[in-house]
């Protein structure tokens, strides 16, 4: 897959070209492309003067990074302790069932990615599901469908 890598230079310009900037740069690339394209990793290694192996190691260590393309809408099911005891597992199963993918996967049409996250910090409203950066509290098995419908519309 080819990607427009012209946006990379603007990202490099935001930070000092030092190894210390690696995580921040990768975060911006992830945000821009929804994943870390392989060519971008190579270019980052050169720009920041970091071995490619280290770029790869950082890219795979942190959950925030993905080496495969993510969906347009990232649905994150909070599975923090509170959400867990308030039924996050049921919500996860329901969403997996509806989207026909497992957590950690992306639908073929690249519309949705389904992820689990260890706590989004809105525990009082457990169980919580975040669609991109929008949070939905007190989610029930029944309201999952509505959530997806809304997500599809935008």
């Amino acid at each position: 897959m080819n990607h427009d890598l012209s946006k990379l230079s603007a990202i490099y310009d935001r930070y000092p070209r030092k190894p210390q900037s690696l995580i921040a740069v990768l975060q911006d690339i992830q945000k821009e492309y929804n994943f870390l394209p392989c060519e971008a990793l190579k270019q980052t290694a050169e720009e920041l003067n970091v071995p490619l192996s280290k770029v790869f190691s950082v890219s795979t260590f942190y959950n925030a990074f993905s080496l495969v393309p993510k969906g347009e809408k990232v649905i994150r099911i909070c599975v923090g302790t509170t959400c867990h005891i308030r039924g996050a597992k049921q919500i996860q199963e329901q969403l997996e069932d509806e989207l026909k993918i497992k957590a950690g996967q992306t639908t073929e049409d690249l519309q949705f990615s389904l992820e689990v996250v260890a706590c989004v910090g809105a525990c009082a409203m457990a169980p919580v599901v975040a669609v991109n950066e929008r949070y939905h509290g007190n989610v029930t098995v029944g309201s999952c469908k509505k959530l997806l419908k809304k997500g599809k519309k935008g």
């Binding site: 995580i23 302790t81 509170t82 005891i85 039924g87």
Partner: protein, 618 residues
């Protein structure tokens, strides 16, 4: 505008205060994490829309404020009208017009939106009269929910940055450290290390430069105090960091914020820009020769980065693996230089300590754990939310007086504190005072302040399994006992939950727990077995029920249970039919439903939605 000296700051504070005083009525819309998840942004937008189209007598648009977490998340979205403290709960965008017309314009309280005491059903108008609030004492959370979360002028009006001004202009670094030492402040991130001692060590370290870091990598699932502070009162953290930097001679600092908290990054960034513009941060702070540059470092979504040495590696752009701490990070921290790392809540306490004195802070709480502590009170408790109480308050007071007891009046089972490093305490321990040492002695720990209440429908085996799975996922893999040991512990916990274990399995788990705890470098592994150890200590019978009777008393572990409808109780409301994802429930309206055991996947959704308690777990 640049503030050039302490006198100017005080004068500006008076101006800001006067401006606030002119707003005789203030309308506060809570935009904390909980309320936002419940749609409070739409509520705030609805107020703005009404105000754009129409003038409300005696009310200025500036007096509509979006605040940080007010605390009582259960009742959100919350709208508070000050100075009376009129407290509206579960507000919807459609209520905006009525609130403005009735309460703001005509002083009429809308009964329907008030909080009702669950014991007697009586409405309570002012939030300060609700036990959830009246039993709290707020220091770290002093401004949250009270002021506009992104307005430096309001922070200054409440006395913000005056602690910093006092430190920088009237005190020597040594005096600042002495004051913090006298306060007895201990690290709020869970470690409980005395802040004053840490600062003293860093200040006297010869190697330069020195750094200050704020740990905002709040990774414990079930905790959101730091998120609320960073989003709702970012200036208090910045002010605390400036004071710390001055005390230890640092000129560069980092705030490490968790990847999952994008709003915290935005608000902190705004706060840093405002403070720099005012000359309260950056070069020559309020005209003194002290300089501090603060940067935000965003985390990458790794739990282990909450550990200090891993966090420092992550700030430096590396993989967040902890190192052995033969030499402490306060001497060799970021880039191997002396580094003071404190938690968000600790920094938020510092301005108040300098302002009011270490003695004042030490007079609150217990002898060895001074001051107050913020908790996120969540789980199966009636009043979930963000609270702050003096150290030494008992678990019972927190859960029953502030928290209002257990949801749906179910029996209390345990309270989980300290996240994946902590443990579960049973009913017999409810009268323990909450402080660093008592909780550790009881086999749990204070942790960063997540307090998750469990009822009889929570299975402790399932919970231990949950935490072990979490830790297996988050272990960085450096130490074998942690990486492999937790994995094995998890496998055995699964065996227990599926009824495949013997009593010997439990003994093996206990022995392996010891190995993991002793053989790991950092807190993740050292305290990783705690959730298992504390539950097996206090709830051994429940483990044995899984092992010997092949039963899950709480009705959670799927391999050991089945669901049935109690015919006499079922009124045929169809709620469970709709909720069942595997279409295992059939039945007509007003007739008892039936569960097809072949199709049922034991998820328990039917039990959650049944209002008549008609689903039996066997």
């Amino acid at each position: 505008m640049r503030i050039e000296n302490a006198g100017q700051l005080e004068q500006y504070r008076r101006e800001c205060q006067a401006r606030l005083d002119k707003q005789t009525r203030r309308l506060l819309v809570c935009c904390g994490p909980g309320c936002l998840a419940n749609g409070s942004q739409a509520v705030s937008d609805a107020f703005k829309k009404v105000l754009r189209n129409r003038k409300i007598k005696g009310f200025k648009v500036e007096a509509l404020k979006e605040t940080g977490c007010h605390g009582f998340c259960e009742q959100g979205p919350l709208v508070v009208i000050e100075p009376e403290g009129i407290f509206y709960t579960r507000v919807k965008p459609a209520h905006a017009e009525k609130i403005l017309e009735e309460t703001i314009a005509k002083n009429k309280v809308i009964d329907k939106l008030l909080f009702r005491d669950h014991n007697n059903g009586q409405p309570i108008t002012c939030y300060r009269d609700i036990p959830f609030y009246s039993r709290q004492q707020r220091i770290a959370l002093r401004n949250i929910g009270q002021i506009n979360q992104c307005d430096i002028d309001e922070y200054i009006a409440t006395g913000g940055y005056s602690g910093m001004a006092k430190a920088l202009t009237q005190m020597t670094p040594k005096q600042v450290i002495d004051e913090v030492t006298a306060s007895g402040l201990r690290g709020r991130g869970g470690g409980g290390f005395p802040a004053g001692r840490k600062w003293k060590t860093a200040a006297s370290a010869e190697d330069t430069p020195h750094y200050v870091i704020c740990n905002g990598d709040e990774g414990d699932p079930g905790a959101f105090m730091d998120r609320a502070i960073m989003e709702g009162d970012p200036h208090s953290v910045i002010e605390g960091m400036i004071i710390a930097a001055y005390a230890v001679g640092a000129h560069e600092g980092y705030i490490y914020v968790r990847e999952e908290y994008p709003l915290a990054v935005v608000n902190l960034q705004k706060a840093i820009e405002q403070a720099t513009e005012y000359g309260l941060l950056g070069e020559n702070i309020i005209g003194t020769d002290f300089t501090l540059e603060l940067n935000i470092s965003r985390g990458g979504g790794a739990f282990v980065c909450g550990e200090s040495s891993a966090l420092m590696r992550s700030v430096a752009g590396e993989v967040g693996e902890p190192r052995a701490k033969y030499v402490r990070s306060v001497l060799k921290g970021l880039y191997d230089k002396p580094t003071v790392l404190n938690n968000v809540e600790s920094y938020a306490c510092v301005p108040a300590i300098i302002d009011k004195g270490g003695k004042w802070f030490a007079s609150i709480g217990t002898k060895k754990s001074t001051g107050t502590k913020a908790f996120s009170l969540v789980g199966k408790v009636r009043n979930t939310g963000l609270i702050e109480v003096p150290m030494g308050t008992t678990l019972r007071e927190i859960i029953y007086d502030i928290g209002g007891g257990i949801q749906n009046d179910r029996p209390f089972k345990a309270v989980q504190t300290g996240g994946p490093s902590g443990g579960c305490l049973p009913e017999a321990k409810l009268d323990l005072p909450v402080d660093f040492d008592t909780l550790t002695e009881a086999g749990s720990m204070m942790g960063s302040g997540g307090m998750i209440v469990l009822d009889d429908q929570t299975c402790v085996v399932d919970l231990a399994k949950y935490f072990l799975a979490f830790l297996v996922d988050e272990s960085c893999g450096k130490c074998v006992p942690c990486r492999e040991g937790l994995h094995q512990l998890y496998g055995m916990a699964v065996a227990v939950s599926e009824g495949r274990a013997t009593e010997e399995t439990l003994e093996k788990m206990e022995r392996l727990s010891e190995v993991v705890a002793v053989g790991s470098l950092c807190g993740l592994g050292k305290s990783g077995p705690n959730p298992f150890l504390s539950t097996v200590k206090y709830f051994r019978d429940e483990y044995l029920a899984h092992i010997n009777d092949k039963k899950c008393p709480a009705g959670v572990c799927r391999e050991l249970i089945r669901f049935e409808v109690i015919e006499d109780k079922c009124d045929g409301c169809m709620a469970c039919v709709a909720a069942c994802a595997s279409n295992a429930i059939t039945g007509q309206k007003k007739e008892p439903h039936v569960i097809d055991q072949e199709l049922c996947n034991k998820c328990g959704a039917c039990r959650t939605v049944c209002r008549r308690d008609a689903i039996l777990v066997l």
